[in-house]
């Protein structure tokens, strides 16, 4: 069996080079693979395109990636929040590009990319700024926008349990974008809270089958309290 286990977060992300498109799971801090993001920052890569729902929390996570000059473009649904001041500063200076995508469209573009489809038709965004430059197609009496698939060179995924095959489970709402992104990238890099032996995850409970996972490392979950980080 191919060895997917890496000894550290830095070994896990060492395959990522300049100019890559990187899908990053998570919704706010929930399910965000922050340890892999930090390891990616330490690699001092440049020119990344980052796909995530948000644009970072202060100077941590994606905020740190932007702050340290690793990011050329973000594709997200919710760029502006009180905590996203690093992104806003870079955006105001014209130093970073933004592609704004409605959240459901972002999820479905990823799913479509993973599924090998050529795109999909959605009623979301018809008659809004989001429709600019997109084909509007009339089907069975309703208008839809043609949205194109989205894939990553890499996906950074936060899982709960992992086994040596790379089978994954997630914890509560930390699931969010993670399973969708794990199916939409050429190489899938995972940080899990716990490694369990082969067979220890009930097959019925596997959310992301190991065939989607290329490399993983373990960072134990110290605490779940919000006071913790």
């Amino acid at each position: 069996m191919k060895q997917k286990r890496c000894s550290s977060t830095s070994e896990t992300v060492q395959v990522i080079g300049d100019g890559s498109t990187v899908l990053i799971g998570g919704f706010g801090r929930g399910g965000l693979p922050i340890e892999l993001i930090d390891a990616l920052c330490d690699r001092r890569v440049r020119g990344l395109t980052i796909v995530n729902n948000n644009t970072g929390h202060g100077e941590t996570g994606i905020g740190r990636l932007i702050h340290e000059g690793c990011v050329a473009k973000v594709i997200c649904s919710f760029p502006v929040s009180k905590e996203s001041y690093v992104f806003r500063d870079w955006y105001d200076r014209g130093a970073i590009e933004l592609e704004l995508v409605p959240q459901g469209t972002l999820a479905e573009r990823l799913r479509s990319g993973g599924a090998g489809l050529g795109g999909f038709l959605t009623p979301t965004g018809v008659g809004t700024e989001v429709a600019a430059g997109k084909q509007c197609i009339h089907v069975n009496g309703r208008d839809y926008l043609l949205e194109l698939p989205l894939r990553g060179d890499f996906a950074l995924i936060k899982a709960d349990k992992v086994d040596p095959r790379g089978n994954l489970t997630y914890r509560k709402a930390a699931r969010n974008f993670n399973p969708v992104m794990a199916m939409a990238a050429d190489q899938v890099l995972v940080v899990a809270s716990e490694e369990v032996p082969l067979g220890a995850i009930d097959p019925e409970h596997v959310i992301t089958p190991g065939l989607f996972v290329d490399r993983y490392c373990i960072v134990p979950r110290e605490q779940t309290s919000l006071g913790g980080r």
Binding site: G31, P102, Q103, G104, T124, R175, P179
Partner: protein, 218 residues
Amino acid sequence: MALNRYSKKEMACRVANELQEGWVVNVGIGMPLTVLPFVSVERGVIFHSENGIIGMGPELEDPSKGDTDLLSAGKRPVSLIPGGSFVHHADSFLIARGGKLDAAILGAYQVASNGDLANWKLPGAKLGSIGGAMDIAVGARRVFVVMSHTANDGTPKILETLSYPVTARGCVTKIFTDIAVISVTDDGLVLEEMPQGVTIADVQNVTAAPLIASPSLG
């Protein structure tokens, strides 16, 4: 003289009363989340949060007891009701677009008399955050807007045509403000309720679209 206004609590309670047994209801960030404590679990309303929570409970009174893996769309710690479940993002928005939401409760900057909704970007701003609003407004069977009747400077937020960037066209069903409950109908905006002492003329004065008085107002 200052108008008698519904308190934030009264508004939340009024929206809560609109929800029917067995409904699946999406709640947006901010004021919509204040509705949850007024809906008892026994009523069988299932709250959906865009980040994949089905059966979301109210925000925790003590956030330090929260769990980073169980946050509302506004990124604050919430609870899960017994029998709740989790889905990934593509499925969460399948629920929204696929007709499974009986209602969505959203905040708004503006609502037009034909039900057009604006709630994601200020006019002229370079940046705005869409989040799940466009998908949810398009997909939910009913969209309930809860907002102040006017902006801080007194400018009407209910008008004939939006001046703010559109979130979704013709989607709003009912508007709950601090001085009125208004239904969006094919005939126009129907004023249904006001706080005691507030007249139809008072509400019309701060509404930039014609209001039809409901027969129930007498």
